[in-house]
């Protein structure tokens, strides 16, 4: 594992706005610029400064020096209805993710007719699942009360026009990530032969910094037609950190004494790892008069996310792994734009995002589901300034655990999300 200190100022910018959530399936995030979002993310074959994320070759067609920055306001909501045998039909639970704002920042600079440099800061992966009443009555608290993953990508990029209508590009993906997991420990109370909370564990990892890369090409065989493909490599990150065990009194001093023999109190070193998946996007777009239509397929290699190991230092008895066994998944995107005069553009689109999560892994930690995304947006341009605004409405398919959840925590998850993004551009 490589650990370095990089670009502290950029990092500060990225961290300032972090808490993130997952709004592509798994815990990928595709909300990297409101213009691309207006096309429902079908942007691999198009070009603006956010191409640093979507397809580095795209910045080869961006003129001059550009700054493009903004954020996405994400308001997710989810609820859960229990099933027998556990937690039971009478149980309903509610998500508590709050409103979260992943940032996006891109900078491009044209060195020559053919060579463009860029720097992007994005949040390509992120997750926040939190549940209401998690310190008290939440029935999933022994599995996960709160899970957060924050992955920031600092992405210095270069793009080169091999010909007027053909460019390649690539970038170094400096990935800085962190994991936080909270849950309770429950044991059987010998006095009641039923379960009781004995500790609250808060696991916080240090930031891990690792490296990946991305590559792409963009071709414009005619004025109207363009086609592109982009690949972002997987990044395996090993995290070390601390799990803080806060003992909870059971109200029974004898049981507390017994628990003290087996459950630690205070911080315990912990290690985990996540292999963030690779992503291949292939897209094409067609332009005629004031219309542009774009289509894209993303191939997300989620099979790299097979387990979430948790190794507690000196405590093999507490160590283990969360089995995930994700499967490779695809996302299908289509977007449309109509220009209204020189300044305005209206956009809309749709995508269908397959969940990589097998039904056994659908849990309070990651209650993932297939989803439909409906995009609406507009762009406005005036002189050196541009503003893009987009709104995504995500309709998740209801996801039942079909009685086979690995933790025997079964029921139906129902989620929705509203995303609102504003990105401001300035050209020098």
């Amino acid at each position: 594992m490589l650990r370095t200190r990089v670009a502290p100022a950029l990092l500060a910018l990225a961290l300032a706005a972090v808490p993130t959530t997952s709004h592509a399936s798994g815990f990928a995030i595709f909300e990297q610029g409101a213009k691309g979002m207006g096309f429902a993310g079908a942007f691999t074959s198009q070009s603006d400064p956010s191409s640093i994320f979507h397809n580095a070759a795209g910045i080869a067609f961006v003129k001059g020096t550009q700054i493009y920055f903004g954020g996405t306001l994400i308001a997710p909501s989810s609820d859960f209805t229990g099933a027998n045998p556990f937690p039971g039909e009478a149980v309903t639970e509610t998500g508590d993710a709050g409103v979260i704002v992943p940032p996006t920042f891109d900078f491009t600079h044209q060195l020559s007719d053919r060579l463009v440099l860029g720097l992007g800061v994005h949040v390509p992966y992120g997750l926040r699942t939190r549940w209401k009443n998690r310190e008290t009555t939440y029935t999933g608290r022994f599995i996960s009360k709160r899970a957060e993953v924050q992955a920031i990508s600092i992405n210095p990029s270069v793009a080169w026009k091999l010909a007027d209508r053909f460019a390649i590009g690539g970038g170094l993906d400096i990935r800085r990530s962190k994991v936080e997991l909270d849950r309770n420990v429950g044991v059987i109370n010998p006095f009641t032969l039923s379960a009781v909370d004995v500790a609250a564990v808060e696991l916080v990892s240090d930031h891990a910094t690792d490296f990946g890369f991305n590559l792409g090409f963009l071709a414009r065989p005619s004025d109207r037609f363009s086609v592109g493909a982009s690949y972002r490599h997987k990044v395996k990150q090993e995290f070390s950190g601390t799990a803080d065990f806060n003992r909870l009194s059971t109200g029974n001093s004898q049981l507390d004494a017994l628990v003290a023999l087996t459950i630690p109190a205070g911080p315990v070193g912990v290690a985990t790892e996540i292999e963030f998946p690779s992503l291949l996007s292939v897209g094409a777009s067609y332009q005629w008069d004031e219309w542009t239509v774009a289509g894209q397929v993303d191939f997300h290699n989620w099979s790299s996310f097979d387990t979430l190991p948790l190794e507690f230092e000196g405590r093999p008895d507490l160590s283990g792994e969360v089995q995930e066994d994700y499967e490779n998944s695809r996302i299908y995107r289509i977007g449309l734009e109509r220009k209204l005069g020189e300044r305005w553009a209206l956009r809309g689109g749709y995508y269908y995002d397959e969940t990589p999560s097998p039904v056994e892994s659908v849990s309070p930690l990651l209650p993932d589901a297939d989803r439909h995304g409906i995009a609406l947006g507009f762009g406005f341009q005036s002189g050196r300034w541009s503003v893009d605004v987009a709104n995504w409405y995500l309709i998740f398919k209801d996801r039942s655990t079909e009685g086979v959840n690995r933790d025997n925590y079964n029921g139906l998850y129902h989620s929705r999300a509203e995303l609102f993004a504003v990105t401001v551009g300035y050209g020098f």
């Binding site: 209805t81 045998p85 039909e89 044991v187 009641t192 032969l193 039923s194 009781v196 004494a257 023999l261």
Partner: protein
């Protein structure tokens, strides 16, 4: 959406198994203590209420599922955890006994299972000998098999044979024909039981026998000297110190039953150098490797008999052996709470170390329900475990000094397992 899916699933399941489908109108259960809802050394209504047959009946919405209710503190008196640390004490709640309160029922009980019953008893015993608990359950109205058939049920569950092997584990003596029913006898009577029950016209679902050498009654106490404060083995020169048995130091694979704990507390079985008396533990609290092998061998033979006999009659068999093995291996959890075969902390077994507690019976009921659903083509909901897993009646009883599994508790439990029929 959810409801629609369930409905579709139910319709599909019903369509696929239209032939096999049975309407559950009446249900009878034949068996032993495990079927009677015996828990913590007692037959008592607070636990009978959660016997797996009672839970199945509840999930099926069957009104009037009658059991031979016994009032507090049970017959025998229920065992309780008196103290956990420093010494764990388990003792009867009361010197008194409960009494049957449903004796006047003018028909057989739906749950006709008799604690202590062997397969021979299920076929022959009518309770005429006047000994409890058979006398107040069977009431001289016929055998278990006869009474279950007399109810004209649409479903009979049959889980018999545990006492044909269990007595050997609990009494620390494994002798086929003395503490274990001879395998030929087992096969003969099991066949007869199934034959007669089949004649009732009911759908029958059976269960096989678990490996009784994995129950906490015989797995909790290690065969070495343990420091009662740390609960860790005492080390001398880095080595554990074996307990003393009738033929010398115990081998590391000897099982020591909970019956030894009151003796260990007096220093029996512990070397003089470590503060014990140096006297040996009696054979009846020990199962050596040979005895364990005999019990497992007979269990396997009996399970083969159950498999063969049931297969011939097209009777599905619940693999209770595999389910208990799963718990013994620590492979189960519910909602992040680990459930296993550990004594007191495993969540499955009650204070007698032999029978399940309420949560254990509920888990077991769900295993039955899954098999009943798939084999009868019906769709009973599984039991909601939430109220079993999270109930708040935590109480600290006043500390007192005493033994771990008290002598009274042990003798009471031994009495639950009368000698088997040796014929």
């Amino acid at each position: 959406m959810h409801i629609r899916n369930l409905t579709v699933a139910a319709v599909l399941a019903a369509a696929l198994s239209a032939e096999a489908q049975v309407t559950l109108t009446a249900y009878a259960s034949v068996g032993d203590s495990l079927t009677a809802g015996f828990s913590s050394g007692a037959l008592v209504e607070s636990h009978q209420r959660n016997s797996y047959p009672a839970l199945i009946a509840r999930q099926a919405g069957l009104a009037g599922f009658e059991q031979p209710w016994v009032t507090e503190p049970g017959i025998p008196a229920e065992l309780a955890l008196v103290q956990l640390v420093p010494t764990t004490i388990i003792a009867p709640k009361s010197p008194l006994l409960g009494s049957p309160r449903n004796l006047a029922l003018a028909r057989p009980y739906n749950n006709i299972a008799v604690p202590g019953a062997t397969v021979v008893d299920a076929y022959l015993d009518t309770g005429r000998a006047g000994l409890p608990p058979a006398n107040f359950i069977l009431r001289a109205l016929g055998t278990q098999v006869q009474q279950a058939s007399a109810l004209r049920p649409s479903l009979i569950t049959l889980w018999i044979g545990n006492n044909d092997v269990l007595g050997a584990a609990v009494s620390g003596r494994a002798i086929e024909g003395v503490t274990l029913t001879p395998r030929t006898t087992f096969r003969q009577y099991y066949t007869a039981v199934v034959e007669d029950l089949s004649r009732s016209g009911a759908r029958i679902v059976a269960a096989n026998l678990p490996d009784v050498t994995t129950i906490p009654f015989v797995t909790t106490i290690p065969p070495v000297v343990v420091n009662p404060t740390t609960r860790q083995p005492v080390l001398v020169n880095g080595q554990t110190v074996p307990l003393i048995g009738p033929t010398g130091l115990l081998a590391s694979n000897t099982l020591v039953t909970l019956g030894a704990s009151s003796l260990l507390a007096q220093g029996i079985g512990i070397p003089k150098e470590l503060g014990g008396t140096g006297a040996p533990l009696p054979d009846q609290v020990l199962l050596d490797a040979n005895e364990v092998a005999i019990i497992r061998d007979v269990t396997a033979a009996d399970n083969n008999a159950i498999r063969d006999i049931c297969a011939a009659k097209n009777i599905p068999v619940l693999d209770a052996n595999a389910i208990l093995a799963d718990f013994a291996a620590g492979n189960r959890s519910v909602g992040g709470i680990d459930l296993d075969s550990s004594f007191l902390t495993g969540g499955i077994f009650s204070y007698d170390g032999v029978h399940p507690g309420d949560l254990g019976y509920a888990v077991l009921a769900n295993e039955w329900i899954k098999l009943i659903n798939s084999s009868l083509g019906i769709n009973l909901a599984e039991v909601d475990l939430n109220p079993f897993l999270f109930r708040s009646s935590a109480s600290t009883r006043g500390p007192r000094t005493g033994f771990e599994f008290t002598r009274e508790a042990w003798e009471q439990l031994l009495a639950t397992f009368p000698p088997v029929d040796g014929r």
